[in-house]
């Protein structure tokens, strides 16, 4: 199990999900990825897309101007 972090607050769709997906593909099952993302479109789409790929969303939290999404591969 590894813990890793990805900041996609400077990205726009579809690169936001491209970066998340490529990173998750490299992680071993059970690994946890913490993603910092913006509200609006990324917050609406990334958790849903992650679940559609079969990965588990552990939590979504508001943190200052951004959000933190924790995904378990």
């Amino acid at each position: 199990m590894t813990e890793s972090f990805l900041d996609i607050t400077h990205e726009v769709c579809p690169m936001t999900f491209v970066l998340v997906k490529l990173r998750l593909e490299t992680l071993s099952p059970g690994s946890r990825l913490t993603i910092r993302l913006n509200g609006g479109e990324p917050l609406a789409n990334i958790p849903r897309s992650v679940q559609e790929e079969g990965w588990r969303v552990e939590s979504v939290m508001e943190e200052g101007p951004h959000y933190t999404l924790v995904v378990v591969r």
């Binding site: 579809p14 690169m15 997906k21 490529l22 790929e53």
Partner: protein, 249 residues
């Protein structure tokens, strides 16, 4: 143009962070697809496809494969291949294109099939289809083909791992000919335009196959009847006296 496929094996160069970013941006719309992802996209980028033809069937086929990022396209045609290669590079400069003369012997054909992941025949003489079918059967490599008859356009394939009892493309062509017997010839204009549809279908099946999915065309024949605007799927029986695959039971 050369016959020799030996120089076609992949040479890999170190990719920089900027290259990686360009790769992600170019293929972003495909990487996000559930059936592709980063792994599938790299599989396509590392694949080599041999494409026969440069006419109305080969053009959409080549362009769809190039757009999807198939790494190397070998374009085999007796003329016109340089022109098609230039069009492919215009669309996606990351695709390596090689113009080659079609193989003239079974030995050359088998060497070619063994050097690539997929071979697609987009029209050509019956003798070329027969040669590629013989080669594909001999070395157990996949082959997709589209061709035209006066009544219809046809698309069919033979898988690499064909079970014994599976029909080869010779059997497919014979079955299709019998099926079409007695049918009136189609309007040449409709046939001409419909060649593009078959080229697109071949592109779809090539990509499916490269990504590890089974193709609906394996040992099957799809007929496009332009006069009826209809498609038919023809279940193909292996011919017991087939000169190519009869020994394989």
């Amino acid at each position: 143009m050369s016959h020799c496929p030996t120089e076609l094996l992949a040479e890999t160069k170190e990719s920089t962070e900027a290259d990686e970013r360009e790769w992600m941006e170019r293929y972003s719309r495909q990487i996000i697809l559930p059936g592709v992802g980063g792994r599938g996209q790299r599989t396509l980028n590392q694949a080599t496809v041999a494409l026969f033809g440069c006419g109305p069937m080969a053009i959409p086929l080549a362009l769809y494969l190039a757009g999807a990022g198939v790494g190397r396209l070998l374009v085999l045609a007796s003329s016109g291949s340089d022109w098609l290669c230039a069009m492919v590079r215009d669309l996606n400069p990351q695709v390596t294109t090689v113009a080659l003369a079609p193989p003239a012997s079974l030995e050359e054909a088998t060497a070619l099939l063994l050097a690539v992941q997929m071979t697609v025949l987009a029209e050509g003489k019956t003798s070329l289809r027969e040669l590629l079918n013989q080669a594909a059967f001999t070395v157990k490599r996949p082959l997709l083909a589209g061709w035209q008859q006066p009544e219809a356009l046809l698309a069919a394939g033979a898988a690499a791992d064909s079970a014994s009892g599976a029909a080869c493309l010779h059997c497919v062509a014979q079955s299709a000919q019998q099926h079409l017997q007695g049918r009136a010839a189609a309007d040449p204009l409709l046939l001409h335009v419909a060649r593009g549809a078959i080229g697109s279908l071949l592109a779809m099946e090539t990509l499916r196959s490269l990504l590890g999915h089974s193709s609906a065309l394996w040992h099957n024949c799809l007929l496009l009847l332009p006069e009826q605007s209809s498609y038919q799927s023809l279940a193909v029986q292996k011919i017991s006296s087939c000169p190519v695959c009869a020994s394989d039971r």
